[in-house]
C-alpha cells in the first residue's frame, strides 16, 4: 500500500485546495485499495508492489487524474470573463484619460516656463500611460484570478446581456452604409481647410522644398472631396471606394512622412520670422521652439489618424471580399 499512499499524495499536490483535496484523496485511496484487492483475488495471490505498480500505471499519471477533478484550470474562466473584460476596459480608459490630462497640463505649464524638452514630455506621457496600464492590468488579473479560484459562486450579470433585444439590430446601420453627416462635415471642413491652406502657403515662412509638396496636398484634398461626393451619391461603401480611400490616405501619410523625415522643410527658422521687430517682447528663439514642437505633435497626431482611417478601410474591404 506504500505506493498507493505516495500516488495519492502526488495526485493531491495537483489538486486545488478549495476543491476538498483531503476528501478526494481519501476516496481515491479507498478506490485504489478496492481495485488492488479485486485484482489480487482474481490472480489468486497476495497483493505486492509489482501488482500495485501495474494498477497505478493503468490508472494514469497523478497529474492527469488530478485534471479530471478540475478539467478547465482557467486563470479567469468564462463565468467571470465578460466582467473581467469590462473592468479592464474601464481601467485602461480611466488611466489613459487621466494621464493624458496630466501630460497636457504639464505641457502647458512647461511651455510657460520655456526650459523643457516638449518632445520628451509627450514621450514620457505615453510611457506613463503604458506602464500604468500594464501595472493596473496586473492587479485586475490578480483580483479576478483570486475570485475564480476562491469564490466559485461569484457571478454578476452584465446589464447589457439582460437587456439585449434583437430589435436593436434593426436600428444598427448596415455594415457598409455611409454616414451622411460625417461625409458632409468632411466636405465642408476640407473646403475650409483648402482655403486656409491657400492663404497659409502664401506666407513667407515655408521652404521651397515644402512648397513643392503643396500641389500634391491640394490634389489629395480634391480627391478626398470627390470620394466623399461619390459616397454621398452611392450611399454605401464599395470595394473601389475602399481602395480609393486607402490610396488617398497612404499618399497623405507619405507626405507627412516626408515632412517628418526632413523637419527643416517645415521647421520655422529665425530668418522666416525676421519680420518681427527686434524690440518686440516676444523671444524669437522660444517662439520658434513652440511652433516647431506644435507642428511635430500635430503631424504625429495626423499620422495616427491616417493610419486608423487606412485600418478601417482595409477592414471594410476585407469584409466585402471575404467569402460569406
Amino acid at each position: 500500500m506504500n505506493l498507493i499512499n505516495r500516488y495519492v499524495t502526488e495526485v493531491g499536490k495537483h489538486l486545488p485546495l478549495v476543491m476538498g483535496r483531503e476528501d478526494i484523496e481519501r476516496e481515491l485511496r479507498s478506490t485504489l485499495e478496492d481495485m488492488l484487492e479485486e485484482r489480487a483475488e482474481k490472480e489468486g495471490r497476495a497483493a505486492d508492489e509489482s501488482m500495485e505498480m501495474e494498477l497505478l500505471r493503468e490508472y494514469g499519471s497523478p497529474q492527469k487524474v488530478a485534471e479530471t477533478y478540475n478539467p478547465h484550470p482557467y486563470l479567469i474562466g468564462p463565468r467571470i470573463f465578460p466582467l473581467f473584460l469590462m473592468v479592464l476596459k474601464i481601467t485602461f480608459f480611466g488611466i489613459a484619460a487621466g494621464l493624458s490630462v496630466v501630460t497636457i497640463i504639464q505641457l502647458i505649464t512647461e511651455v510657460a516656463s520655456m526650459d523643457h524638452d516638449y518632445v520628451k514630455i509627450v514621450l514620457q506621457g505615453f510611457g506613463n500611460i503604458f506602464s500604468a496600464c500594464m501595472a493596473a492590468s496586473g492587479y485586475v488579473v490578480l483580483t479576478f484570478a483570486i475570485i475564480e479560484r476562491f469564490v466559485p459562486d461569484f457571478k454578476i450579470d452584465i446589464e447589457e446581456e439582460k437587456k439585449w433585444d434583437p430589435a436593436i439590430l434593426a436600428k444598427e446601420p448596415a455594415p457598409h452604409s455611409v454616414k451622411r453627416g460625417d461625409l458632409i462635415a468632411e466636405i465642408v471642413f476640407t473646403i475650409i481647410g483648402l482655403a486656409f491652406l491657400n492663404w497659409l502657403f502664401r506666407l513667407p515662412i515655408f521652404s521651397d522644398e515644402f512648397l513643392r509638396l503643396v500641389p500634391w496636398i491640394i490634389a489629395l484634398c480634391f480627391a478626398e472631396i470627390v470620394l466623399d461626393f461619390y459616397l454621398l451619391r452611392n450611399a454605401v461603401w464599395t470595394s473601389a471606394a475602399y481602395i480609393a480611400k486607402i490610396l488617398i490616405e497612404t499618399a497623405n501619410m507619405a507626405i507627412v512622412f516626408i515632412i517628418l523625415r526632413a523637419p527643416e522643410m517645415l521647421g520655422v527658422t529665425v530668418q522666416a520670422l525676421s519680420h518681427i521687430p527686434e524690440d518686440s517682447s516676444v523671444e524669437i528663439g522660444k517662439l520658434i521652439d513652440i511652433i516647431n514642437v506644435s507642428i511635430w505633435i500635430t503631424l504625429i497626431v495626423v499620422l495616427i489618424l491616417q493610419a486608423v482611417e487606412i485600418g478601417k478601410a482595409v477592414y471594410g474591404l476585407w469584409r466585402i471580399k471575404r467569402p460569406k
Binding site: 478526494i24 478506490t31 478496492d34 479530471t68
Partner: protein
C-alpha cells in the same frame, strides 16, 4: 485529427450526458464509487474512473446526490445516494431521454 480520434471524441461527447442519467438511476440505493462503476460495467456501460468520480462530486455539489463516509472492512468508503432533489429530477430526465431516443430514431431512419 484522424478519423478514429474524431469518432472517439464524438462518442465521448455522446456518452458524457448519458452517464449522469445512468448514475442517478442506479443510486436509489447507496453505493460507493467503485461499486457503482462495476454495476454500470456489468450492465454494459463502461465508464472511466476519471469521469465517474468527478461527476459524482459535481452531482453532489448540485444537490442531486448526498454522500456519507462509512467504515467498512477497516476501509473508509464514501457512499452516494440520490437526494430528494435528484428524485424529483430523475423522472423528468427519463422522459427527456425517451423523447431524445424517439426523435433521433426518426431522424436516423430517414
Amino acid at each position: 485529427m484522424t478519423n478514429t480520434e474524431s469518432l472517439e471524441n464524438v462518442v465521448l461527447e455522446l456518452r458524457r450526458g448519458v452517464i449522469v442519467l445512468a448514475a442517478l438511476s442506479q443510486l436509489g440505493t447507496e453505493q460507493y464509487g467503485y461499486s457503482l462503476l462495476k454495476q454500470l460495467s456489468d450492465q454494459g456501460l463502461e465508464v472511466d474512473q476519471g469521469t465517474l468520480y468527478p461527476l459524482l462530486r459535481r452531482l453532489e455539489a448540485q444537490g442531486l446526490l448526498e454522500s456519507v463516509w462509512k467504515l467498512e472492512e477497516a476501509r473508509p468508503r464514501r457512499y452516494y445516494i440520490i437526494s430528494a432533489e435528484g428524485k424529483k429530477l430523475l423522472p423528468k430526465l427519463k422522459k427527456e431521454w425517451s423523447s431524445i431516443i424517439s426523435v433521433m430514431d426518426k431522424i436516423l431512419a430517414k
